[in-house]
Amino acid sequence: MKILVAEDDARSAEFMRKGLTELGHSVETVDDGRDALTYCLYNPCDIVILDRMMPGMDGLSVLKSLRSAGRKVPVLFVTAMGDVDHRVEGLIAGGDDYLVKPFHFSELVARVTALARRPQSLEQVTHLTVHDLDLDLMSHSATRDGQHIQLQNKEFALLEVLMRNAGRIVTKTMLLEQVWDFNFDPQTTVVETHISRLRAKIDKPFDVPLIHTTRNSGYCLHAPR
């Protein structure tokens, strides 16, 4: 993927560049907001990693300009300004995701991957299927290998997020945000517990496990490789 990293802190920018390049992406870095805008307008870009506080032009303004120019490129904010108001502001302006510094690099990777493959338009999907697991979003039911599985509300929501991101790593933070709408760390094993309950229902009774844990990163639901 072609990734633009707009970050005025040289250390952070270099770290991201190195890490993402190692994963096979093509990374360009800029340290000024105006350069970021110019680059996006004239160069192909799959994803933009944007710092909010930059010299020249701040991240929010860059985003607004991009969006009003009709550019729909996915934008991931990476910033020290992490309170809810700033987050909401960034998302309302057209940002696609918001990551607060400091962050785990794996978190960044997971979100970048998720954003890049997100369909540009919101398709109305009624079914999600991975291997022999089927999730019916209309009737809120789950079936695996033909057998109906009884899921509680949160378990269903959790499974839905994992399946929508099938094949990609979903971090704990992403799950807390998307399943529980928690923008904070509850300091308890909410995610782990629910994953384990989910596993007990959809993995254990069957031969092939679908939910995998990646140490220090997160979870990934995928068919056997």
């Binding site: 250390r11 770290f15 020290a80 309170d83 510094k101 400091p102 785990h104 709408d181 904070f184």
Partner: protein
């Protein structure tokens, strides 16, 4: 203006105390006026009598007792007996002339009753008994005029007194109401400010009375408060950036080192510890910033109508499995008819409730029961989280709300002791009261909100 407000107004109370004094003064003045008038009128009577006595004495001296007798008789006939009486008596007390029956038993000048004749009751007369040689002369004038004036003055003073007192009362009520209104406006403005409308200022009247002076002072302070809060908010943003950047760089460096090729287990382990600590530091810093931000702003901009029952049910559903895995039980009894609606910030309240439940779970041993309750009371809406774990000793209950305070024997080092500080900040922001009490055994946390229909936004 309710009677209670009226009577509690300090001005009114003061004047109620002073009123008896005032009435006393009024009565005293009236009494004095009465006395003076009476004395003056009586003096007038005396003068009139003396004039006639002088003339009679002259007659007696120049022309003898027979002339005196004739003069007395003439005087008695020439003046109405209702107005003046005169009588001459010999040494034995027999009547020689005039229209007085008997010598009154008085000394000097005095009042005495004389018959009005025709069976009418006696009337008061004022006069004197004088000796003219061997004879005795009695002359007196009626007190009826004086009495009449006394009556009228009496009534006039009473009415005047009543009017004065009434006028005073009315004026005082009016002033109290006016002052009361001003003070109420003051109170309302201050309350609005404390509820989050930090741009409100107290209206200052055109007159320069004491309340206006105080209002002006209050506005100055409110300006300072707004400026202070704005500065604090800006400082928080600056701190966020300035402190997060080095934190971020440290975190990245450690991550880089941890993932470098061929790293030996020992440095790897140390790096992991360093990394965990950096993450912990970041989380602590995050929470501190959150608390500061909540405290630096008082507005209810992000507030919406929400149901505590729904919120609690949601959190209960989320945490029940977590509690069960720890061998604990979590209950939430839902009353579908009572949605316990308040005005609040959903995210803040969510985090608050999560903190409380997580605390209960973390500090309680296996077997602990945790319960969440939400209900609408007569004048507030209550959220309660209770457990039967170790609880918090009474003397520590105030301290635990301080940032970074750790319970002795808390054991676990997740979190830096900011959880309850954040809970308190969120409660204050919502204008809700927070009470920690003994659940006998365990801890009961009770939070009382304003109902959605009153106050709030």
């Amino acid at each position: 203006m309710r009677l209670g407000d009226l009577t509690s107004a300090s001005g009114f109370r003061y004047s109620l105390l002073v009123a008896p004094l005032f009435v006393l003064l009024l009565v005293g003045t009236a009494g004095y006026l009465d006395r003076v008038t009476q004395a003056s009128m009586v003096e007038q009577l005396e003068i009139e009598i003396r004039i006639q006595l002088t003339s009679l004495r002259e007659t007696f001296v120049r022309q003898g007792p027979e002339a005196l007798r004739a003069a007395v008789q003439a005087s008695a006939l020439s003046t109405s007996p209702a107005v003046q009486r005169v009588g001459l008596f010999d040494a034995a007390g027999a009547n020689l002339a005039g229209n007085v029956d008997v010598v009154p038993d008085i000394e000097g000048w005095d009042c005495f009753p004389l018959s009005a004749g025709n069976g009418l009751p006696d009337r008061e007369f004022y006069g004197t008994v004088t000796a003219f040689g061997p004879t005795t002369l009695v002359m007196a004038r009626t007190m009826s005029g004086v009495e009449a004036v006394h009556e009228e003055l009496h009534w006039a003073l009473m009415i005047a007194g009543a009017v004065i007192i009434l006028t005073r009362l009315i004026l005082e009520v009016a002033v109290s109401r006016h002052v009361g209104r001003k003070l109420r406006t003051l109170a309302k403005t201050l309350e609005a400010v404390s509820q989050g409308d930090t741009d409100r200022r107290v209206p200052v009247g055109k007159g320069n009375d004491q309340i206006d002076k105080i209002s002006r002072l209050i506005n100055v302070h409110l300006d300072r408060l707004s400026a202070l809060m704005a500065t604090t908010r800006n400082t928080i943003v600056s701190i966020a950036h300035d402190l997060r950047s080095p934190l971020n760089r440290a975190s990245l460096s450690v991550q880089e080192a941890m993932t470098s090729e061929g790293i030996a287990p020992a440095p790897q382990a140390s790096l992991e510890v360093a990394y965990d600590n950096l993450t912990q530091l970041s989380a602590t810093f995050d929470t501190m910033l959150r608390i500061s931000r909540i405290q630096a702003s008082a507005d209810h901009a992000g507030f919406e109508k929400l149901s505590l029952t729904e919120l609690a049910a949601d959190i209960a559903e989320t945490f029940r499995p977590v509690a069960e895995d720890a061998g604990q039980s979590l209950t939430f009894v839902q009353d579908d008819d009572d949605s316990a609606v308040i005005m609040g910030d959903r995210r803040m309240l969510q985090q608050m409730l999560v903190n409380l439940v997580a605390n209960a779970s973390r500090y309680g041993p296996p077997g602990t029961t945790i319960s969440i309750k939400a209900w609408t009371g007569p004048d507030d809406v209550v959220l309660e989280v209770a457990d039967n774990g170790p609880g918090i000793p009474a003397d520590q209950r105030q301290n635990v709300l301080n940032p970074f305070h750790r319970l002795k024997g808390g054991g676990h080092d997740e979190g830096a002791g900011l959880g309850l500080a954040l809970v308190e900040a969120i409660c204050t922001r919502h204008g809700a009261s927070l009470t920690l009490s003994d659940n006998a055994p365990g801890l009961r946390v009770t939070i009382c909100f304003h109902p959605a229909t009153a106050g709030g936004a």
